[in-house]
Structure formats: structure tokens, C-alpha cells
């Protein structure tokens, strides 16, 4: 279907189904139950799942396929956000022009940075991209204030031209469907919210995912893998890797721009902190955690990190007391003392630890973890079942 083989079609359909049913699947607990705090099916979080999913898919096209580790990808996200908000300011609140412009601007920006940075490889490439991103971040705060509105962040004011606004709604909308609006379904004690904004993101996520599958399976994708496994040999066969890496860089920059544009569409505000290098680090974490070089990995990684961020930050001492309340006082206090480091504002500590563990023991990320469990459970099944996905995971460590 759609030029995909059977396995990829199934993968795409599974992702599509999950994206479609996310508001239901992510709300497994009734509203008033004590477990309701683990529900993730509210608009803001689901949108973040989809947006960061897109961001990570794009990053994976560069890092997973070519092995070029960019530490400045957040710059494209930031640029995308700014362009989207500018579209809101100049044209009006329809998200379509905003998203299109953010993709184009981020693509051009990526073309410029990639054209320079890709002259070098390895850690030099990482440092160059990092340097460009930090430059953009700092300039956005200082000299480019007329464009970015500095520390206040770019936002829409009532005296902006907005020439196409007409009598449309004064919030981001898609031909009249407001991003913030949602339908709530009550089913017994459960409550499911179906937000418009999320479904816009989800549709784009699916489109991005489909495109990524096509890139992975195309001759172009094969070429990118060749660059990762042995660039010298590729040179010897008379192929210049530069156009391919540059194309991959620009594509992943456009994905980031799309994510940035969507972020601004959900909440018409753009700040420079989206470009900071910690934000670049975050997308690296997501991709690695999910499994770099695999198709589904980045989405899993993005979802996992955003979900844990949300849940872990919510847990506080009171919740912990509730959990460990049945234990003897000494044990309870000791457990809480330990657990306190990892929850609430200590969530980053958990993230750092998790990340170290994954890189050390599970370089293929969650996908590899799943495959190992699968292999353990179905050891008697055909070995061939471990397929191209695991091959891709193995390519993380090319023959040296």
C-alpha cells in the first residue's frame, strides 16, 4: 500500500491507529480513581507527544541514517516557531501558511548551516552545529530583538496587521476549527478529550512518519547508510557524500521546522529558549532512548521522555507518603528520602541516569530492548523474524 511493503504498511497502520486512539488509550484510568494522575490523555501532553515525535523522526533521518550527530537541531525548531508566529502576526491565525512558512524557513536555515557544517565530520561537525545553534540563541536574545522580541518572546498583538484575519477566530485555527477546542466524551467513569490541535499534529506526524519510511527504504536512504558505515569507501567508489548528507540535513531541519511551527500553532508564542543547546540535547536523548536508526524508535523515545517528564514532575512528597504509607516509619522515611531525588524537580536526575543506562547497556534503545525481550520470549520462532529493524539497530556500530 502506498509504495510500502507489507511489514511497513502494518507498522504505519499500527502507528496511525495508536495516534487516532491516543486520547482513549492514554486515559486508561477513570477520572476519580487515585491512578488518574497517570493518565496522559489531555490535549497539551498529547500534542507534545506528536510534536516531539516529528522532531525526533526528523533528527533520526540525519543521526540514525548518516551518523552525523548534530547538537544544534533546536535552532531549526526555534526558527520554525518564530516564522509561524510571524505568519500569525502578518496574515492571520490560520495555521496552514504558518506551518508552510516554518518548514521553508527552517529548510533554508538548515541549508545554510549544513552547507558550512558538513565540511567537517565527527566531533567537529557536532561542535560546528552547536556553535551555530548557540549563535542563533544568543542573537535571538540580543541583536535580533526586532525579529524575535528578545526575552519577552514573540507573540501576536492586537495592532498587528493580520491582513487575512477577517472575522475568523482570534486564536490559531485550521479553516475555522480552533486548535484549543475539543470534544469530551463521557463513558461511565471515564472521560476522554478529543482535541482538534492534537489531531492536526497527529495527521502531520503520520505524514512525517510515512515520508520517513519512504526515505528509509529508498536508494537515497541506502546511500545515507553507506555514508554511516564507511564514508572513505564511498569516496573511493567515486561518490561524493556531501550532497546526500546535505539533503539529509535539510530534510531533518525541515522536520524540526515543522515541529516548531506546530508548537507555535498550539500556543502562539515563540521564545529563544527553544533554541538553547539543552533543547538540542533533548532531541538527541529521545532518539537514542527510542533507538537511533530505527523507524519507530524516535516516536517511542519522544513519547517515553515526555510522558515520564510529565508524570515524574507531578509526584511530590505527599504522593510518596501515600504510596509508602503502609510501611513501617523508618522504612517509609528511608524510601521517601531515596525516591525524593528522582521525582518532582529531580526528574532530570532520573533522565540523566536513564540515559546513561541506555547508552551503556542498550545502545539500540527501547527498540533493541523490545527485540531482546521478544527474542527471549519467542526463542523457538524463526530467527528471520528479527528483521531489517534490528539490522538498522546494529548499524549503530559499523564495522571498524
Amino acid at each position: 500500500m502506498l509504495g510500502l511493503d507489507r511489514k511497513d504498511t502494518i507498522l504505519l497502520l499500527v502507528v496511525a491507529l495508536m495516534a487516532l486512539l491516543a486520547p482513549v488509550l492514554l486515559n486508561p484510568f477513570p477520572v476519580n480513581s487515585p491512578l488518574a494522575q497517570f493518565n496522559a490523555g489531555y490535549p497539551d501532553l498529547m500534542q507534545r507527544f506528536a510534536i516531539f515525535g516529528i522532531f525526533a523522526i526528523g533528527f533520526n533521518i540525519l543521526f540514525g541514517l548518516t551518523g552525523y550527530l548534530s547538537f544544534g537541531h533546536a535552532a531549526f525548531l526555534g526558527v520554525g516557531s518564530y516564522s509561524a508566529v510571524w505568519m500569525f502576526k502578518l496574515l492571520g491565525y490560520n495555521v496552514i501558511p504558518a506551518i508552510i512558512l516554518s518548514i521553508i524557513v527552517a529548510g533554508l536555515f538548515a541549508l545554510l548551516i549544513g552547507w558550512i557544517s558538513l565540511r567537517r565530520s565527527g566531533i567537529y561537525f557536532s561542535i560546528l552545529t552547536l556553535a551555530f545553534a548557540e549563535m542563533s540563541f544568543r542573537l535571538a536574545y540580543s541583536v535580533l530583538t526586532p525579529l524575535t522580541n528578545g526575552e519577552t518572546g514573540l507573540q501576536v498583538y492586537t495592532d498587528d496587521p493580520q491582513i487575512l484575519l477577517g472575522d475568523g477566530p482570534h486564536v490559531p485555527h485550521l479553516f475555522g476549527m480552533m486548535m484549543r477546542s475539543s470534544t469530551t466524551i463521557h463513558a461511565g467513569p471515564w472521560e476522554f478529550t478529543l482535541p482538534v490541535g492534537y489531531y492536526v499534529c497527529a495527521v502531520l506526524l503520520l505524514a512525517s512518519f510515512y515520508l520517513a519510511i519512504r526515505i528509509f527504504r529508498s536508494p537515497f536512504g541506502m546511500m545515507l547508510r553507506a555514508i554511516k558505515s564507511n564514508q572513505t569507501r564511498m569516496n573511493y567508489t567515486g561518490l561524493s557524500p556531501r550532497p546526500y548528507t546535505l539533503a539529509a540535513f535539510v530534510i531533518s531541519g525541515m522536520y524540526a521546522g515543522l515541529a516548531g511551527g506546530l508548537m507555535a500553532s498550539m500556543d502562539p508564542l515563540a521564545g529563544a529558549e527553544r533554541m538553547q543547546w539543552t533543547a538540542s540535547g533533548e532531541v538527541v536523548l529521545m532518539t537514542i532512548l527510542g533507538g537511533a536508526g530505527t523507524l519507530i524508535g524516535p516516536i517511542l523515545g519522544a513519547g517515553f521522555i515526555k510522558y515520564c517528564e510529565n508524570i515524574f514532575s507531578k509526584i511530590n512528597e505527599g504522593v510518596l507518603h501515600g504510596w509508602f504509607g503502609g510501611l513501617p516509619d523508618g522504612v517509609e522515611n528511608a524510601l521517601i528520602w531515596v525516591a525524593e531525588h528522582f521525582v518532582g524537580s529531580g526528574w532530570h536526575l532520573t533522565l540523566g541516569l536513564l540515559f546513561m543506562l541506555v547508552v551503556t547497556f542498550l545502545p539500540g534503545g527501547l527498540v533493541e530492548g523490545g527485540q531482546r525481550i521478544g527474542r527471549f520470549a519467542f526463542r523457538r520462532r524463526d530467527r528471520k523474524a528479527s528483521d531489517a529493524e534490528s539490522d538498522a539497530a546494529k548499524q549503530r556500530n559499523p564495522a571498524e
Binding site: 561542535i127 564514508q231 539543552t278 536513564l354 556500530n397
Partner: protein
């Protein structure tokens, strides 16, 4: 002229910090071949050694002084640090006052231990992994260390003053024949620069003039052959890692009075130090030191008002701009060796 001298002086202290961190990074990279993203965290831990020692010295007990009352009319409570009651008020005050310099002694064993534990516990498993993996795992470690410090010391910067004797500034201009108060330079920054120079000199002398240093240099050039000669090069490299951690830590201890330590200072310096290392040339120790000072001074020049008027915003981006230009025109950096990090 005086403005130029002033900017050079201003650049020296930041340049010293860059140079010291970059030196440690290069030592680690040159010996173990590991890209250590947690090096900024070591710098930060060093600064927090100073904070910790200051806090230890000022641990106090409370007594009630009947002769005074507080604003509510109750008898005033007086905090007396233990060091004051042990050594007498004068010595005690002096010890507290000098807590930052004393923290050097305190930080050396701690940093060596941290470095040793880091190398044996984590880095050793990453010798043969791709550089990307090394970057990622040390990045994770940096987050962990940073968050632990944040958990125990809070998110706000902590004032760690220099000893009273070094407060105030030195009138440098008089020395060179300018008017008084034209070129003034804080004492502590002078000390920081001198300290950095001593550390850099000591590291170079250690590598150049001792047998241990000779073996390490040989190991940097050809690890395998040195290993085949029956020398336990891994052990020596571990010691070099600990040394690099100590250098970064001491840079942090002495930096504490210049910039109050906070938990993310390591990350702030790390990014810049990496740029410094790359500009200097990956794996070149003199290059790292040179680039550290050059970039520090360039940064302070770029923050002059005259220059900012010509090119607005240049002070924010000068280091990155220089790095980009250097990387594109001299791919090996200022003093990079052939064959290092070239796939």
C-alpha cells in the same frame, strides 16, 4: 592604548578558566581517546568544594547572650562557628576568611577520587565505543552530577567571597605610567591568572620532565607499543584522568569568588571549553592553553562598547564565530596534530 590593556587583562581570567578546563579535556582526549562531556561538571564540583568547605567552617552552635536583645525583646541568640571556639576568635575568623584558598587542599583529594571513580566506573567501558556514545554517556553523567548538586545546594548562586586581603583592586595603570584609576584590576583575578599559569606550567613540567610523564606521552603517541613494552599504560592513563579532574576542580575552586557557583556553571563553561579545544586543535595541549587565552581575550575585546557599536551583538557570538572560521580554514585547529579525530 589603556583600553586595550584593560581588555587584555579582563580577558585573562576568563581565558584562564577556559585554558584550564580545555587542558583537562585535552589530557583526557589525548590519553584515553574519550570525549568527556562531563568535564564542565568537574569544574562545577570544584567550585562546590569551595562552597562546602566554607559551609563546614561556618557550622555554628547557638548561645544566648543575655546582655543583648533582638528586635522582639528576647535575649539575642549568637551564632558562634565551632572553628572560632576551637582556635580562638582571631584564628577562627581567619580560617573562615581564607576558606577559598584552603579549599584547594580540600578539593585535591576529592577531585582525584571523583576522577578515579568516574574513569574506573564508567569511562573505562567506553574506550572502544564510538565517540558519539562517549559524548552521550558523559552528557548523561553531567546531567546527573548537576542535578545532584542542585538537589543539595539549591538552584541559586552561592556567594563564596575571596579572603579580605584580596578584595579591592590593583591600580595597574600607575605601573605603566598611565593616570591612576585608569586601569584597575581586581586582585583576585590577578591571583587567578597566576594560579592558572602555575597549574599549566606544573602540568607541562610533569609531562615533560618526569619519567611518568614521559611514559604518558609515549602512550599518547602509541598506546599499543607502550603496552607491549610491559608498561601498564591503563593505570597511568587512569591517573592522568584523575589529574585532569583535579585541574578542572581547582579551576572551579578558584573561580568561585569571581562568579558565585551555581549548578549550571559547568554546562555553561563546557560548551565554550569544547569550542576552545577544537579551536586549539584536538589533542594538542599547548593549543588548548593558547586557544583558551586567545578566546578569553577576544571575548573581552568584543564586549567593548566601541566594537559593539560597529558590529552589534558581536560580544555574544564572537567565540562561536571564531570557532567556525578556524574550523573551516584550519581544519585541525591552531595547533592540531595530524591524524587526530580524522575519520
Amino acid at each position: 592604548m589603556d583600553a586595550i590593556i584593560l581588555q587584555i587583562l579582563n580577558g585573562l581570567d576568563k581565558g584562564s578558566a577556559y585554558a584550564l578546563i580545555a587542558l583537562g579535556l585535552t589530557l583526557i582526549f589525548g590519553t584515553l581517546g574519550v570525549v568527556n562531556f562531563a568535564h564542565g561538571a568537574l569544574f562545577m564540583i570544584g567550585a562546590f568544594c569551595a562552597v562546602t568547605l566554607q559551609r563546614l567552617f561556618t557550622i555554628s552552635y547557638e548561645t544566648i547572650d543575655e546582655t543583648k536583645t533582638d528586635f522582639l525583646g528576647n535575649p539575642a541568640k549568637v551564632q558562634t562557628p565551632y572553628v572560632e571556639s576551637w582556635f580562638g576568635p582571631d584564628v577562627g575568623q581567619a580560617v573562615i576568611d581564607w576558606s577559598v584558598p584552603l579549599a584547594i587542599l580540600f578539593a585535591i583529594p576529592i577531585m582525584a577520587l571523583v576522577g578515579f571513580a568516574m574513569e574506573r566506573g564508567l569511562i573505562k567501558h567506553f574506550y572502544r565505543r564510538p565517540h558519539a556514545d562517549q559524548i552521550l554517556v558523559t552528557f548523561g553523567l553531567a546531567i546527573v552530577l548537576q542535578e545532584l548538586i542542585k538537589h543539595y545546594y539549591g538552584a541559586n548562586p552561592i556567594q563564596t567571597p575571596a579572603p579580605d586581603a584580596f578584595r579591592g583592586s590593583f591600580d595597574f595603570g600607575v605601573l605603566l605610567g598611565f593616570d591612576p584609576n585608569h586601569i584597575i584590576y581586581p586582585y583576585w583575578r590577578m591571583i587567578y591568572f597566576a594560579f592558572a599559569a602555575i597549574i599549566v606550567g606544573a602540568v607541562f613540567a610533569f609531562l615533560r620532565f618526569t619519567t611518568f610523564g614521559m611514559v604518558v606521552r609515549a602512550g599518547m603517541a602509541d598506546r599499543e607499543t607502550v603496552g607491549l613494552l610491559g608498561i601498564n599504560i591503563d593505570k597511568r592513563f587512569t591517573i592522568m584522568f584523575a589529574l585532569a579532574a583535579v585541574v578542572a576542580g581547582l579551576a572551579g575552586v578558584m573561580y568561585a569568588p569571581i562568579n558565585s557557583p551555581n549548578y549550571h556553571m559547568g554546562m555553561d563553561f563546557l560548551v565554550l571549553s569544547f569550542v576552545v579545544v577544537v579551536v586549539g586543535g584536538m589533542g594538542s595541549l599547548p593549543g588548548a592553553v593558547l586557544a583558551g587565552f586567545v578566546l578569553g581575550i577576544l571575548e573581552s575585546f568584543a564586549s567593548m562598547n566601541e566594537i559593539k557599536q560597529i558590529i552589534p551583538g558581536i560580544d555574544q557570538i564572537i567565540i562561536y564565530l571564531v570557532a567556525i572560521i578556524i574550523l573551516l580554514t584550519r581544519p585541525r585547529g591552531l595547533m592540531g596534530r595530524r591524524g587526530v579525530m580524522e575519520e
